[in-house]
Symmetry: C2
Subunit: 121 residues, 2 copies
DNA sequence: TGAATACTGAACCATATGGTTCAATATGGC
DNA sequence: GCCATATTGAACCATATGGTTCAGTATTCA
């Protein structure tokens, strides 16, 4: 079984599973921001936003740098390549699975109509 | 701000954030399975596996059907299209953001200094 | 120096998650 | 009918999550 880096996937998908954090990523896609700015934009305390940023940072989706008293947040190094690849692979499995089902259904239909007595499973 | 269906994203990304559940999806991509079969494959109690299947089902990634005393699990209708689209959009933001900054220049400079003669690429 | 700003850490809270055990229920086969 | 199989629900447990408040600490600026 292909293993990838399971804990890495855990972290990045979990990071994406929260609407606020997805919002933060979109925001940082437009411009870098401080904790204060993000907290205001998402109507949350500084401490609350800091936790979200920590989660995003641990997932590699955001990097931060403290400049003076301000922590500047920006998009991180992760471009979600592996996550995309995983989903793409899942989609291929999905397609294969349902193509196979379609074929089976089709075959059963043909057998049914062309051969009344054969009960083989 | 584009909204998509936030709670839908929450559910599907959260579903993908667990290694066991990703494994179940891969397994179901190969063949349908009962709760018992999945529980054995992933060394877990029936009840535990049932919970995972519930999570996947709520996220639309798996559908199940009770046939006699066996619950058959198969891949569901969701092909993660919207999730792929969200990630793709994020990747575009990411690219735009870093094209705008001189991070690329930064990288080139580092390459140049660490690799004296090669100036191209 | 001293006040305002920006963040951070600790502690707390309610709820969710990932797992278990145990007891019940429903079904299949003899 | 009886027994084994397959699932399910309730209850429990430990830990994680998403948020808060409050009390610091570090930095900026007048």
């Amino acid at each position: 079984m292909v293993q990838y880096s399971q804990t890495h996937f855990d972290a990045s998908f979990a990071a994406l599973s929260d609407a606020t954090r997805r919002g933060v990523l979109e925001q940082l896609g437009r411009s870098d921001a401080s904790i204060t700015e993000l907290a205001e934009k998402f109507h949350m305390t500084l401490t609350g936003m800091k936790k979200h940023v920590n989660v995003l940072e641990r997932a590699g989706l955001v990097t931060t740098e403290k400049v003076g008293r301000v922590r500047n947040c920006r998009l991180g190094r992760s471009r979600l390549e592996e996550e995309m690849a995983w989903i793409e692979r899942y989609r291929q499995l999905w397609s294969a699975r349902f193509d196979a089902l379609d074929m089976v259904v089709e075959e059963l239909k043909q057998k049914e109509t062309s051969n009344g007595r054969n009960k083989a499973e």
